[in-house]
């Protein structure tokens, strides 16, 4: 069902944990399946993501995408991090089964939510960042397109 990369990230999640006094924390939940993801960002004065951690309540795909997403944003600038889409995360994991595509949205949204929190705390505006929904509800694949 899952690729080897997914299994690897599931078994050995990178960056799992919390950051105390993080620069930004984002929590998002998927109303459809009830899963929850939380991302902690440590952003330095130059706007570089120095460290990142996650906690996830969700399926194997959710855990693996959190892990992969944190790897992908680590060391990146805010603008670079914003460009990381769920698609890019999925590709980095060698794909997900169709019913699991929505799980990867959690990761993208959680990063955005954490950045939003960082911006609010610091009273800045991050170009291109919209206020995150805390409900990922795309309905993208529940009905198969026969």
């Amino acid at each position: 069902m899952y690729s080897e990369k997914v299994m690897d990230h599931f078994q050995h999640p990178r960056n799992m944990g919390e950051i105390e006094n993080a620069s930004g924390v984002g929590t998002v939940g998927n109303a459809k399946c009830g899963d929850i993801m939380r991302i902690f960002l440590d952003i330095d004065d130059n706007g570089i993501i120095r460290d990142v951690k996650f906690k996830t309540f969700g399926c194997g795909a959710a855990v693996a995408t959190s892990s992969m997403a944190t790897e992908m944003v680590k060391g990146k600038s805010i603008q670079e991090a914003l460009k990381i889409t769920n698609k890019a995360v999925m590709e980095a994991l060698d794909g997900l089964p169709p019913v699991k595509v929505h799980c990867s949205l959690l990761a993208e949204e959680a990063i955005h939510a954490a950045l939003w929190d960082y911006a609010e705390k610091n009273g800045i505006v991050i170009e291109g960042l919209k206020k995150p929904k805390n409900d990922i509800h795309e309905g993208e694949d529940e009905e198969e397109d026969y």
């Binding site: 919390e18 993801m37 939380r38 399926c59 194997g60 855990v63 529940e142």
Partner: protein, 393 residues
């Protein structure tokens, strides 16, 4: 590879070697079509009849009341759709429960789209239907009561005998989905007042792709699969001879070994439950504490999600299942766990372990140890657990 500990016997079972052996001659030697005239075909026909007789005996039914299908789902669909069609002049109201298998629930939804009305009975916190509610739900236009014998997730056994009495008192046919119960608990369709009963071969160490619907003589029901004159003209299609033969053998063995086998399984299962509940914090047992299938255990572990738990158990060589959204085709958490009153996030962290006679006490201990370790690990990862710990500090 390490030795597998298979604890998902409610999902499917391994076919017994005796079952496969019984089937083998009917693939390439005695392969005749039971409907044909010549002697080769008569051998197939006799084998089918023998299996039918064995199954009938197991239920205290008559052989001509057993109609083979492709499995439990077809039997459920048939029972519901075709009784609805047969009794539609009398009324269009059907009673079932909120915890039925999807083969019943989705068929009810289909019937609703065809203008039938369905009452879905609630269950209590143990998953037991309320007989008073059932009585109150009965109307003059009620044409069918369909209530499962035992639930596939939480293992609760329903008060079938009482339901049968109520149905009989009102002259309403009573169908029961016994896919999980058949072969695990004694069933006597006469004593229990059952008019129709669904079962499936692969749940009791028989082959996949074969099941039956028991239809009491006198019950009006239409065909569901139309065509040839097989199964007394009620279910068309060339008989799955090997499947039927294997099913018959599996039933024979399941029934003759039932007492000893299930008391062994129950002992293992109870040990497992007792250790999990006492050693894993924030865990609960789902389903009735005593009126439950002998080999079923179903737990909720707060703050963790079912699929991750299953995947980590798999890495330890343990096969289980979960009512979790993430493992089923749909994204909703188990309708059964919601029906017994669990909130969404708890319903997500369920684990069903269903044993068989080849399991051992050592395996149970290894499983409990593994669960303890994995649950702790997953909680470490869970934002819900972090919140909980913070709140209770």
């Amino acid at each position: 590879m390490k030795q597998l500990i298979y604890l998902d016997n409610a999902a499917t079972t391994a076919a017994r070697p005796e079952v496969v052996e019984a089937m083998l001659p009917y693939f390439s030697e005695k392969y005749g079509n039971p409907s044909s005239v010549y002697s080769l075909a008569q051998e197939s026909k006799e084998a089918v009849d023998a299996a039918r007789a064995a199954i009938a005996e197991a239920l205290h039914a008559k052989p001509e009341e057993i109609y083979f299908t492709a499995g439990g789902s077809e039997a459920d669909n048939w029972a519901l759709v075709a009784s609805a069609e047969a009794y539609e002049k009398k009324g269009r109201h059907i009673i079932t429960t909120k915890i039925e298998h999807h083969a019943v629930l989705h068929t009810c939804q289909y019937l609703e789209s065809r203008g039938f009305e369905v009452t879905y009975l609630d269950v209590d916190e143990n998953g037991v239907v309320d007989l008073e509610e059932l009585k109150q739900a009965i109307r003059p236009d009620t044409i069918l009561i369909s209530i499962m014998f035992a639930n596939n997730e939480i293992g609760t056994i329903e008060p079938v005998e009482e339901i049968g009495k109520i149905a009989k008192a009102h002259g309403i046919p009573f169908h029961t989905d016994a896919v999980q119960a058949f072969g695990q608990v004694p069933i006597d369709v006469d004593a229990l007042g059952i008019d129709m009963l669904s079962a499936s071969g692969h749940k009791l160490n028989g082959p996949k792709g074969i099941g039956f619907l028991y239809i009491r003589r006198g019950i009006k029901i239409k065909s569901f699969i139309h065509g040839g004159a097989q199964e007394r003209k009620r279910r068309a299609g060339t008989e799955n001879v090997t499947g039927i033969v294997g099913f018959g053998k599996a039933v024979e063995i399941a029934v003759s070994t039932m007492e000893e086998r299930t008391s062994y399984e129950r002992r293992l299962r109870d040990h497992l439950i007792q250790r999990v509940l006492s050693e894993v914090p924030h865990s609960r047992l789902n389903g009735h504490p005593s009126d439950r299938l002998p080999a079923n255990a179903n737990f909720c572990f707060r703050f963790i999600e079912g699929e991750s738990l299953l995947m980590m158990l798999d890495m330890k060589g343990i096969c289980g299942s979960s009512g979790s959204a993430c493992t089923s085709g749909s994204l909703d958490p188990s309708h059964v766990l919601l029906a017994i009153g669990l909130p969404h996030e708890i319903a997500h962290g369920s684990l069903r372990l269903t044993l068989n006679e080849s399991n051992t006490m050592e395996e149970m201990d290894y499983v409990v140890d593994s669960i303890k370790e994995i649950v702790a690990q997953l909680r470490e990862m869970s934002p819900l657990y972090a919140d909980f710990v913070k709140k209770n500090k």
